[in-house]
Amino acid sequence: MNNPLKEKYGPLPIVEAMIFSSENPLSAEKIASILELNKEDVEEIIKILMKEYNHNEMHGIEIVEIGGGYFFRTKIPYAPFIRKIVMGKESDLSKSAMETLAIIAYKQPITRAEIEHIRGVDSSNPIRSLLEKKLIKIQGRKDVPGRPHVYGTTKEFLKAFGLKDLSELPNIKEIKEIIKEPQLKLIGEEDEDKTSENNS
């Protein structure tokens, strides 16, 4: 490989790529130490990048500094459009929705109170969001005081998870066979068995 530092634009594109990919706001010091440059030179380069992005209406993204670290973000006026992307991505299901869906999938028909007993938290939000996404539906009422709704999964659920029918749901035993990880050995085997009983 050629030394990219020696190319036409020097380290500028590398600094851009580094800020772009870093999982935390990235400081000039850190960049300087990796590229073996002066901190001042790196700051100079970042200034050029910020000029290119921040003050150029052609770009929808900009570099900002917070607490000594730099990162890219989308420009503020575009927030309404970005929200549609980021929220759309939210259809990836939040953790709470996933938990709720898993419980419903395995224990349907089930009431909200029962779901909340298992999760230990109020679950009306995830239930509503799952209903909106048509992944679950109200299957009827349970014959107990208050006659609460019971929930079950839908055809869309099967489709979304690529299942022909509910019997294709992975069962916990099979998954455990894969998950038998040596390092998680705090508990004896018998205990694990007990857990699966609780689960089933």
Binding site: K30, R83, S96, N198
Partner: protein, 242 residues
Amino acid sequence: MSISVKLEQFEGPLDLLLHLIKKEKIDIYDIPISEITAQYLEYIENMKKLNIYVASEFLVMAATLIYIKSKMLLPKKVTINEEIQNDDIIAEDDPRLPLVQRLLEYQKIKDLVEILEKKDCLYRDFFPRGYTEFTIDFAEKEFDSYELVKIFYSLIEKMPDSLSLEVELEKITIRDMINNILETLRERKKITFIEYASQLKSKIELIVFFLALLELAKIRMITLMQSALFQDIDISLRIEQA
């Protein structure tokens, strides 16, 4: 037990056999079975001498080789019409046939791996966007201890009590836990509260984890972030701490 122990660079018995075959420049369609068996067994013996755990699959293959060898020694009952073995063809009743088929199949997979490995690969040759804020309500806000307590509480509730009674608890100190957390963070850059907490096995550990987090946050070693109300909490090293 299924600890997949790497036998030097060999992924399994088939890998080892292929290696031996290549090393000796043997025709895969006409493997001199006693020779290869001897080499294979010698290899395994060496492993044992070096006190390296020999996975059961290797022993199964050894047994298979010996079995084939013994079969080869038996005089063939049926008179052979075409005893000539064409270069690339192996007789249907040849005891080596199933093994040869598997070796060929496995070789193909090795070729595929090579093809895949030559491709540009995420997190090796290219990287996606890392940290960002979207400048909208989605933006990560500073950590709120009330939420932390809430998640903590829900997890405690979730844990079956019977579990903690029956398990002989490992004594874990806050110091150990801090070290564990930092080690994980150095490896992974970011973990989430629920992710980490859910692999803990007892209330005690969970409590120690919680206290360790508070301590780490207090001495400003880590950042705790929550993207929205009731969401999981991201735990990451403070910049420059890595």
